[in-house]
Amino acid sequence: MENKFKPIKSYGLDKEKILKMYQDMLKIRYFENKITDFYSKGLMPGLAHLYIGEEAVAVGVCANLTERDFAVSTHRGHGHLIAQGADLKKMMAEVLGKETGYCHGKGGSMHIMDVSKGILGANGIVGAGIPIATGSAYSAKVRGTDQVTISFFGDAASNQGTFHESVNMAAAWKLPVVYVCENNLYGISVDIRKVTNTKDIATRAKAYNIPGVAVDGNDILEVYKVSQEAIERARKGEGPSLVECKTYRWKGHHVGDPGRVYRSEKEFEEWKEHCPIKTFHERLIKEKISSEKELNLIEKDTKKMVKEVADFAIQSPYPNEKEAYEDLFAEEGRS
């Protein structure tokens, strides 16, 4: 994994935006480090699928979205939700199954949603979010808005029928959706290269006569630029695109999986060297966009923020058991 980066200045972004993108990646990293900590201390029920190592994808893509756009996430969803501006306290409380969580303890890590922010949810079924995102795009088209929907999914989901069925419909109807495949090379333990005869998932776009681009998913600015083109295309009514972001998950499939049996130490170390946060930090210094002092301050602030988030979640109460019987149908319960 070589680190080939273009000059930051060539992307034409202002410093404030660049530093926000840096901080958003840190938020994801620290948030999930905290989850690992909670899990190891037995403070977290169930499991969570961690996004560490893939932060540049969510942040790079979502940095292009407006408040009115939509995104549909996956079982490995924390990164997308944070990049879309979800409330970290409500997220962490949900991960711990607390009353103050987004879903009042009924969804957990895999089902966090924030409809008010266009966050149409993480999803526990691999590939199931792809048609939902396609429907969100269909809705925008019928309602006559310029809203764009992002459909995040993994390499393994690109082998589900829902991927092919959905991309086919979106292509036929020129729907305003961008399909973002996060190719982290493994579906749980199975190497995508052993079950798929396609080197780049992006080439599957050809079958549906839409643009398909593969990009270094750990280079936040390339992800930003490539997804920006796809989003603009969708917004102009020119239809969907497929963007494949090549990346790597540092952790196992979930917090309880060491993730080493099926992956070599060499591969892991190479990807760790290509860390989306570390490499971006180095570029910011080297290209004199920022200083160590300034970046350290951002890191310190973000750590403090995540600590407050963790404290809030830990101190929050568990839901009353009556909560299990709320929210089945729309005319019952709170809203």
Binding site: V115, G121, I125, S139, V142, R143, S166, M169, A330, G333
Partner: protein, 327 residues
């Protein structure tokens, strides 16, 4: 009340037409719903009237176009998805059972899913095992779905309008053998609420609960039973979720006998579920064991010589009810 004579298929098309006119966010999506006007002609004229975006001919991708309907429902539309044959529900079961049914609950009540899935049930057309099933029990099993089984055209129209206006996922079963039949349907606009059973005929000797068009077959059987001196009370539950238990309980308290007729399979089926759900309230009023009349636990065979014997009809209802009352 002024009525007109229209077919069951026309009643369905009228319900959709009225709701599409009333609310521009109502859309229709499914296989052959557009130019063809539906495989069963239940959407005739809508494509011409509302255009290709509100009446969309979908590719043969049941799971994904159902999911597309769900995504549209989450973002401001009120979609009606047509699954041509109830058997194809199994292709769309992830989006129906894991997604649509659960998103509101999993999100802690944030999401609203105003999605109607219209599909069909019923044998009798020599369509064999993959185009004849009555799979209502499968969807009844999943919490978070409302399940509607209309009997006549007038019932179908009023209940479909309610389904489209509901803010929850509704699975709406239309009986294939009814589409071409003509019925009296009110001229004026009306809706029929969910969760209120319809007593088609009052009687004192036996309660017969029939789902979908089995309620109408039970009514035919009741006319014959009168000749034997048996007064049957006929109940159409209309909706299986929610289920109006009170009407059935009160009826059995009066008659002391209960026969449940459903075209689904017997095992883990709707008939058994209805019986068990009210048994505690009627046990001490029963003069005979509760019985159920359903499709036998076999795939639907092709030949009419084989198919009709294994599905319930008015004759079987008559015979079973008579046996329950006079032995």
């Amino acid at each position: 009340m002024k009525t007109k004579k229209i077919t069951y298929a026309q009643a369905i098309a009228e319900a959709i037409d009225e709701e599409m006119r009333r609310d521009k966010n109502v859309i229709l999506l499914g296989e052959d719903v557009g130019i063809l006007g539906g495989n069963f002609k239940a959407t005739v004229g809508l494509y011409e009237k509302y255009g290709e975006w509100r009446v969309k001919d979908a590719p043969i991708s049941e799971n994904s176009f159902t999911g597309l309907g769900l995504g549209a429902a989450l973002t401001g539309l009120r979609p009606i998805v047509e699954i041509m044959f109830g058997d194809f529900l199994m292709l769309a079961f992830d989006q129906i059972g894991n997604q649509a049914a659960k998103i509101r609950y999993m999100s802690g009540g944030q999401a609203k899913v105003p999605l109607t899935v219209r599909t069909t049930l019923g044998g009798g057309r020599s369509s064999a095992a993959q185009h004849s099933q009555s799979l209502q029990s499968l969807v009844c099993h999943i919490p978070g779905l409302k399940v509607v089984m209309p009997s006549s055209a007038a019932e179908a129209k009023g209940l479909l309008k309610t389904a489209i206006r509901d803010n929850n996922p509704v699975i709406f079963f239309e009986h294939k053998m009814e589409y071409n039949k003509t019925y009296e349907v009110p001229e004026e606009e009306y809706t029929i609420p969910f969760g209120i059973a319809n007593i088609l005929k009052e009687g004192k000797d036996i309660t017969i609960v029939g789902t979908s068009n089995q309620a109408l077959k039970a009514l035919q059987a009741a006319e014959e039973l009168v000749k034997e001196g048996i007064e049957a009370e006929i109940i159409d539950p209309r909706t299986l979720v929610p289920l109006d238990k009170d009407t059935m309980i009160n009826s059995v308290k009066k008659t002391g006998r209960l026969l449940i007729v459903d075209e689904g399979y017997e095992r883990c089926g709707v008939a058994g579920e209805i019986a068990m759900s009210i048994l505690k309230d009627i046990f001490y009023y029963l003069d005979a064991p509760i019985e159920r009349l359903t499709t036998a636990n076999y795939p639907l065979p092709f030949s009419p010589a084989l198919e009709f014997p294994i599905i319930p009809d008015e004759k079987k209802i008559y015979q079973r009810a008579k046996k329950m009352v006079i032995g």
